[in-house]
Symmetry: C2
DNA sequence: TCGCTATGCTTAACCGGGAAAGTTCCGCGC
DNA sequence: GCGCGGAACTTTCCCGGTTAAGCATAGCGA
């Protein structure tokens, strides 16, 4: 089956292809009657402008890129990314933009992908995930002048727009809640060190614990995987002064932690309370259901995509603070057992 | 920063752009010395051919499309898709193909996306997920002659290539195992009716149960979500002749089922055994860990992508039967309690 | 009646590659 | 010394859109 081109539409309508272009793009230069006729013919023969030709002349690819640097196992199990992508997609497809996805093995590979996309003009802009402290991707994107929106922050995103949510405030809500329940020994199983939001949480954890007068607090680093979450939990629960509450940096590790506690014969929440960061449906599927920090991740992605499209259109919008995650108490938290 | 074009390379090398094109594409027509010089210059100034220009002249977009028709919530929580995408990506990026992703709301919207992609020449081919009985997408893709590989089958994929795995054999392994343990009352919580693999499993479940002489068997339909899995489990476990084992069509529902059983005061596996179909890391994170049907999903995606690239290159390969899922017994299955 | 402008279109150049066709130039055989 | 073949390039056209520039025609005021 032959793909209809603008010339086919023009021939049928008995006009030049220039006129068709004006008519289809809502430009002045054709009478209303002609425009309607052209639109009808285009619809009738199912004409869609060749994106390559359009990109070549118009200099806009009508696509944005997303490179993810996480191993397949973690990408699969972390609901965060898929939910984010859904939200991004919703915004993009409403404006007929395509999403080009690439999974990469390292930050270097990611930078190479950006350079390639830029050189190939394959995308008009990119969304950057997993912002790191002094992220090497930022200066490259600035040098290339490739429109970009960083998901994460604040800070360390250079001159790039970013969309962020206040991790410190969310963590404060969790800790104040746990302290109000009577907990004094609170541990945290953190995500990958080096990721900005991990560092922000680690610092906030220290600050808030000091302010609340908690001294026996500890943060253990992990990599967001269930295995690591389980190992960290085992270590914490085997120590002499066992924490009475553990906050996990994602839901997968929290579920692993719950499982370890049950394995070790500890009751949740009586012996140990558990809080998850990011509230996927998984948190409600386990028993007891997990108290979690909830936020609307598809909306987060949609906001980022919207800002990126604005940045591509040449409107530098500055930073955008998204909704702060809020605590949803469920069955995994309770006052600690009295000694 | 200006994007280098083939003309920039040509100017620097003191040759015509035709020569550069020959040199970069490994065509004869330039001396080896010139070729090396051109390659060095291209590398030095970071030249990447504009994908739009290449697509326009060469008629290949160097991209494949994947449209997913599932709500955000389910996409997020189902590790299947992300793992599949990882595998697809691995194969594509090794051959410098891009993946264009789109989340759609309905099969009609998905068909519209295929038509648009085809008209826009945005992709060279597509991967089709969630094959249905008498799938309406198949004739459209055949009419458009858009290269496609269906993930799922066998059957109902018309003349399109497909990659499939034998669901019936896998289900047989599960049922024979459960019967060997002594179970006679086995229930199944199925996925979305209408999806081909759901129907294949439902039919196989009936056939195998009859062959094994099980009469009190039942299949409940669901939608793959945890909520539905939980509801179905509640109904099954509340009935007069409660099953002693339940097979779930995915891991999310299995985890929900496990949680419901515990909620209802039933011990797993003593009171009820649980088997999950598709073994994501989640299955090992819950307590007890879930007996599951395991297969290498990234590999499944990689095979599909590989076949699609072959189809795009014009080599019709026919169908490909991927590895059959195999059972990994864990803590959630045991002989039923003697009455 | 003449010129001026606005309208509605056509023409042609351009984007950046690929590739067919054309052009040098060199070596070689006769 | 001439014709021939082929290597090594160059020239040119093409892909399918967008868009600046050009060009009739109509309408209108002076």
């Amino acid at each position: 089956m032959k793909r209809p081109t603008i010339a086919d539409v023009a021939r049928r309508a008995g006009v030049s292809k220039g006129a068709v272009s004006y008519a289809l793009n809502g430009q002045p230069g054709v009478s209303d009657a002609t425009r309607q006729r052209i639109l009808a013919i285009a619809r009738e023969i199912g004409f869609n402008p060749n994106s390559a030709a359009r990109a070549l002349s118009g200099a806009t690819a009508n696509a944005v890129g997303l490179a993810l640097c996480r191993p397949a196992r973690i990408l699969g199990i972390e609901p965060f990314f898929m939910e984010l992508i859904s939200g991004v997609e919703a915004e993009l497809s409403a404006r007929s933009y395509a999403l080009t996805l690439q999974v990469v093995a390292s930050p270097e590979a990611e930078i190479a992908v950006y350079r390639r996309w830029w050189g190939e003009r394959r995308v008009d802009g990119v969304l950057v995930c997993d912002l790191r402290v002094d992220d090497r991707r930022v200066p490259v994107l600035e040098e290339l002048r490739l429109p970009a929106v960083v998901i994460g922050g604040p800070g360390h995103s250079g001159g790039l727009d970013h969309v962020w949510s206040d991790e410190a405030v969310a963590l404060t809500e969790v800790l104040e809640y746990l302290v109000a329940l009577g907990h004094r020994q609170i541990a945290r199983v953190g995500g990958l060190p080096g990721l900005l939001h991990t560092e922000i949480r680690t610092e906030a954890f220290g600050t808030v614990c000091r302010r609340l007068g908690l001294d026996r607090t500890v943060t253990v680093s992990s990599d967001y995987s269930g295995e690591e979450g389980a190992r960290a939990t085992r270590r914490l629960l085997s120590s002499a002064d066992r924490p009475t509450a553990i906050v996990y940096d994602n839901d997968v590790m929290a579920i692993a932690g719950l499982s370890v506690a049950q394995e070790m014969g500890l009751a949740v929440p009586t012996d140990v309370s558990i809080v998850a960061w990011d509230d996927s449906p998984l948190c409600q599927l386990v028993h007891p259901s997990l108290t979690a920090l909830h936020r609307d991740i598809p909306a987060y992605g949609a906001h980022a995509a919207g800002r990126l499209l604005a940045a591509i259109a040449g409107q530098p919008l500055g930073d955008f603070q998204d909704e702060t995650a809020h605590l949803i108490p469920r069955g995994s938290t309770a006052p600690p057992r009295q000694p």
